[in-house]
Symmetry: C3
């Protein structure tokens, strides 16, 4: 099975820092050293690993994604959320991080974000932590 | 070793829904709960996890990728397929999904696609399924 | 724990072929069949899996990323390296490859690159190799 995190996004496009929630999931899994797999089961939201020190970086990510995938193109999909689907494909729904000493082994400036592209909504993230030790 | 899926793409740019083939590979691996790793060994095709309910979403993905990586830029690579290489980098060649109860644990609207950017061609996908239970 | 690779990038934007270093890490891990997880702990560099036969492909990847994420946009982040953060998000920091017979199971034309977007700098890559056999 996997651990499920829940979050509520606040606007159409939003980046929610879930680093602390992922840290808690790793603690709940009781894994010392291993790999933490993070999966977003939505098609208009994804996961971003990037700087969590300066929030303007996240605003810049959102700005560039809007420029790459503008709302004004002649999309065929009738629901009006094609840009959100495509942004999710570009950032990805499935990422992993290493676990060391019971903690996420992130780089100095890295954090983990849920990237909302069609909010505000309730969103879930699925987490599975595989232990090096468990692999015999 | 890994399980190999084979498919034939139908046009230059094409998205082939391989969800059922991945499901069959998981059944062949005999894994109940675990992680399914999906790898595309090609450099002008990739893998996309996104909506498989409305095929116009896939057409919109292809349209935006053509706009981001147009055929008309002054590419240096002589074979004329640089846009295909770059699109593959943007969507990614390596993705994973969770497995639960012997089935792919996908979100409600998610499917798995081979994303062809330089077809039509014969393409392969490699699959490895790691069981939670196998990890002791 | 994980194996750490170190490299020195040569320019602002640079793609360094690390395929041989990854091969050596797999040999060091002593894994015959399994999965090699490759993680970049930086926020202005990423990892690219793509053609390593013709280096002009890599130049074309860099050219298109510059066009998608130009230096001239009105970025809010004060350090001037927002484009590098966003390019890293687009190519990804976390990738995996399969291992077969003690070697990376790459496609015929595939190589593994560190993608530098804010160099020249010293960079690290973290590697963890999980053996099929270890999983009982």
């Amino acid at each position: 099975m996997f651990i499920r995190l829940d979050t509520q996004t606040r606007s159409k496009v939003d980046l929610i820092d879930i680093t602390e929630q992922v840290k808690a999931a790793i603690a709940e899994a009781g894994v010392g050293d291993g790999i933490c797999f993070i999966y977003c089961p939505h098609t208009t939201a994804g996961i971003v690993l990037n700087e969590d020190w300066d929030p303007t970086v996240e605003a810049d990510v959102a700005m560039v994604l809007d420029r790459i995938v503008p709302d004004t193109l002649p999309y065929r999909h009738g629901e009006g959320n094609s840009p959100a689907h495509i942004k999710a494909v570009l950032v990805g729904n499935d990422h992993f991080i290493f676990v060391h000493g019971g903690e996420p082994a992130l780089g100095q400036w890295q954090g983990i974000f849920l990237a909302e592209f069609d909010g505000p909504r309730h969103r879930s993230i699925w987490i599975k932590v595989v232990s090096d030790a468990d692999t015999c």
